[in-house]
Amino acid sequence: MTFGLAALHIVTQRKSAKAARARRVFAALRRGRIGKVAIVTVLTAIVFAIDTGTDLEIATPVFYIMVILIAVGMFSRREVIRLAVVCMVLTVFSATLTRTGSQEAGVINSGISIAAIAITTWLALRVVSAESAAYETRAQLIRIARVNSLGELAASIAHEVNQPLSAIATSGNACLRWLGADPPNLDRARLAATRIVEDANRASGIVGRIRQQVRGKGPRKTKTALNAVVLDALALAQGEMARHGTVVRTDLAPDLPMILGDRIQLQQVLGNLILNAIEASAGLPPARRVITLSTGVARGMVHLRVKDEGIGVPEQDLPLLFDAFWTTKDGGTGMGLAICRTIVEAHGGAMNVALPEPCGLEVTVSLPVRAKS
């Protein structure tokens, strides 16, 4: 019974261990910052001293590359650029100080060195940013995977919570029977009631842990363009649409205000809505397998509409659509729209459904325009 939760525990523990390690490393880095500045300064000084003190006809300042390469791993992008500029200035300065030797060679050497420093800086920074982009993408993928596995998680939660619930129901009945005995057995009834309280706490503990897990670190809100999110989600759903022969029509408002949101979570919401629409269109004649995606702005909110031309849902079921575990699909978990709404509401927005004429279902996501602060 504990498979699901055990896995969760391990993940959570690993995560917190990782976070703690990261914090320690970060603190150490901050403590070591003075040391690093010292290393880079000393190296720069040595290169400068050799460069200035010798009149060899070689491009000694090329060794500033070493300083740059070391610094790239330790400092921010801006600081590395500053350091590169300092190195170039020192190169020129050193060239003017070196009076002996061929003037022409000195100029050429300085030119070579400055070019080398500039190119190295540029390449090193590109490598670093590519690495961090890769890291970021991987982190995002992991989060997407986590949200995707929510459906499976829900099944596991159902089992985990069902155990204490079942124990509570049985203990409750036992308690009633002890009380109903003649004479009532109060001690046994009290024991049964105590067990009920313990099991109820256990159940709520399970729910709490799951909620924490699902929530993760909460949305990482950044300035986001909704249209870009729409295009991203469409790109992800491309394969699914092609497989079902679904056509998408987009009507994106050109100058949509930015919103403050977690791009990945919003992408997840949209992906979910698009997949729902694809599934709703699947049984239709090809001409009606059309999904319309539109964005717009009204009353301080950015709106996104996803419309299909499927059979929709019975009107009386509209209010149930966002309920967890309510589903019209065979094998559906009924968690998709519930999770979507949780995400949208965490963004200060709202989700609505309507039955457009003549057919289909239209889901509207409204998100507040980024506050002007």
């Binding site: 019974m1 089992h159 069902n162 619930l165 079942s166 124990a167 509570i168 049985t170 009945n173 029977r177």
Partner: protein
Amino acid sequence: MTDETESHEVPPVVRIIDDDASVRAAVEDLLASVGLEARSYPSTQAFLDSDEPEAPGCLVLDVRMPGQSGLDFQREMTGLGIGLPVIFITGHGDVPMSVRAMKDGAVEFLTKPFDDQALLDAIHDGIGRDRLRRAFECEIAALLARYSTLNAGERAVMALVVKGLLNKQVAGFLEVSEITVKVRRRQVMLKMGATSLPQLVRMYDSIAAQIEDVPALEDAPVR
């Protein structure tokens, strides 16, 4: 029969196998509240290690457990010589699962959280079935014990008599005198404790499957 009355006097014990401690405690307490003795085990292995099979009763078995599943254990029980009737409780039962359980002879298949009365009814039903089974087994054992006191000649006579053969035919087939057959037949009735031929036939029928040294009577005439 004395054995049967004895088995009625031994109080039934309900065995509970569930990996969840609070479910075990709750079910045990529920049974205690109606005066039923229960013993619970966290796994099928723990049950096998320490159960006392003499006590009649039934088995309340969880379907999904780490290690061996309840359904698999049910299938193994016959091979292990455990005849306890099984009542399944499960958190997530589906139709194929319950069909399999019932086909394999389960008394009941309950989904958690279950109705307490439904569980108690099933348990009483299971205990009843176990008593019948044990009584039947006692009876068979007693008959076999009596049968074992018969000598080879008497067994041969019995096997032919219950087929409806006359003394004369039995004598002819066994190539002994009719007197001998009559003497042996009286001995058979006496030793088996049968007061009439139909009763002897019923006795023979219920132990026939367990008689190992059936006299070779393939070509005996059937009346």
